[in-house]
């Protein structure tokens, strides 16, 4: 690091489950260069001040989705957020909001993983084909119907942006709903009826009060809020359809 580096104060919400009753803030003075991300700031603290500081990261290029944190109260990927943009002010980093804190900046994502499983995130073909029968074809138009919802990197920033998830952790939430929508919109898939049961359930889309912040913070422009809201209409349609035909819609 060069001699003429600047120094930024980074305030970190620390929590050690083995010794702490509740989280507390600690301030570190971190020398930085203009190309340093907030993640690198945390790394500097870990390497030079306190090796026990715990956080997740992997790719450092906004693609693995593991480095999300609250940065001055806003959910962001710390690897694509730069210290220079906050200097000379103090910067505060905290574990992603609305999730239980496991340790320091690491949150408990087990609930989220269960939700991802629950939505059946794979294509369940309308009619199974043998290999000999060839591939399932799709037109560009059919492809465009869902492609946007495939970009999710499971960073869970949208959950940290969703007060309804904070108030009810059972809410299936933005990213899982976006992925569900991705499969329901896929012309090769035939399982939307069974996924719609989850959409309309107690944990489903009606927990959403259209705050819309999830789409605002999403680093991949997935627009999970639109997936949630389109499915409010779909669930309502399903509900009324079953009065018209015994087969229409799901339970």
């Amino acid at each position: 690091m060069s001699e003429n580096h600047k120094i930024i104060e980074i305030e970190v919400l620390r929590y050690n489950p083995e010794s702490d009753e509740e989280p507390h803030l600690e301030v570190y003075k971190v020398p930085f260069t203009d190309d340093m991300s907030v993640l690198q700031g945390a790394q500097y603290i870990k390497d030079n001040f306190d090796g026990s500081l715990t956080f997740r990261w992997s790719c450092r290029m906004a693609i693995c989705g593991s480095c999300g944190m609250m940065i001055n109260g806003i959910p962001k990927l710390s690897c694509e957020t730069f210290l220079r943009d906050y200097y000379p002010n103090r910067i505060r980093i905290e574990a992603l909001a609305h999730f239980p804190i496991e340790k320091d900046l690491v949150v408990d994502l087990s609930g989220f993983i269960e939700k991802l499983e629950a939505i059946q995130p794979y294509i369940i073909p309308k009619e199974p084909k043998t290999l000999a029968e060839g591939e399932y074809l799709q037109t560009p138009k059919e492809f465009n119907a869902y492609i946007q919802f495939t970009s999710c990197i499971n960073c869970t920033l949208c959950y940290a942006a969703c007060p309804q998830f904070g108030l009810n952790p059972d809410f299936i939430g933005p990213a899982a709903m976006a992925l569900l929508h991705r499969y329901n919109m896929d012309s090769r898939d035939g399982a939307s009826a069974s996924r719609m049961e989850l959409v309309a359930s107690e944990e489903g889309v009606y927990n959403c009060s259209a705050v819309g912040y999830c789409s605002e913070v999403c680093p991949k422009h997935v627009d999970p809020a639109s997936a949630v809201n389109i499915n409010k209409a779909n669930a309502a349609k399903d509900y009324f359809l079953r009065f018209l035909s015994p087969k229409g819609g799901s339970k």
């Binding site: 609305h98 138009k141 007060p163 389109i230």
Partner: protein, 132 residues
């Protein structure tokens, strides 16, 4: 034995923690302005049912300076409510495809606001003509 002890943070005062949430609360609470104006109109309908004297009394009450002031406040609330809902319209409705492409969020909001303004003005013109 597990050393795990996940800490759950309180949601108290969540809506004060982010300007986006404050704005959300304002836009939700302006619904009360719209509801209040519906009540005003409902009272008018009830008074109409009670005969000419009651109706004229209601009309006179509507013209008092306090009532005019109330109308202005309620109008401001209703206009903000309309604006803030149309601002999130792009995420609350299915995508609108024009010429094979998804309509831009700004265009969608702009169109909705223009339609709302036109409908408002048309209604005003109609009522004006009846009143004259």
């Amino acid at each position: 034995m597990s050393k795990r002890k996940p800490y759950v943070r309180s949601m108290d005062g969540w809506w004060k923690k982010n300007p986006y949430f404050v704005e959300y609360m304002i836009h939700e609470s302006t619904a009360l302005f719209v509801a209040a104006y519906c009540l005003v109109l409902l009272v008018g309908v009830i008074r109409l049912g009670q005969g000419e004297a009651a109706w004229n009394g209601w009309l006179a009450a509507m013209q008092s300076p306090l009532s005019v002031l109330c109308h202005l406040v309620l109008l401001a609330g209703a206009v903000y409510h309309t604006y803030s809902w149309f601002k999130i319209l792009p995420i609350t409705m299915p995508p609108v495809i024009v010429g094979g492409k998804k309509m831009a969020p700004e265009a969608l909001t702009g169109t909705a606001l223009a339609v709302a303004a036109a409908a408002g003005l048309a209604l005003l013109a109609l009522v004006w003509r009846i009143a004259l």
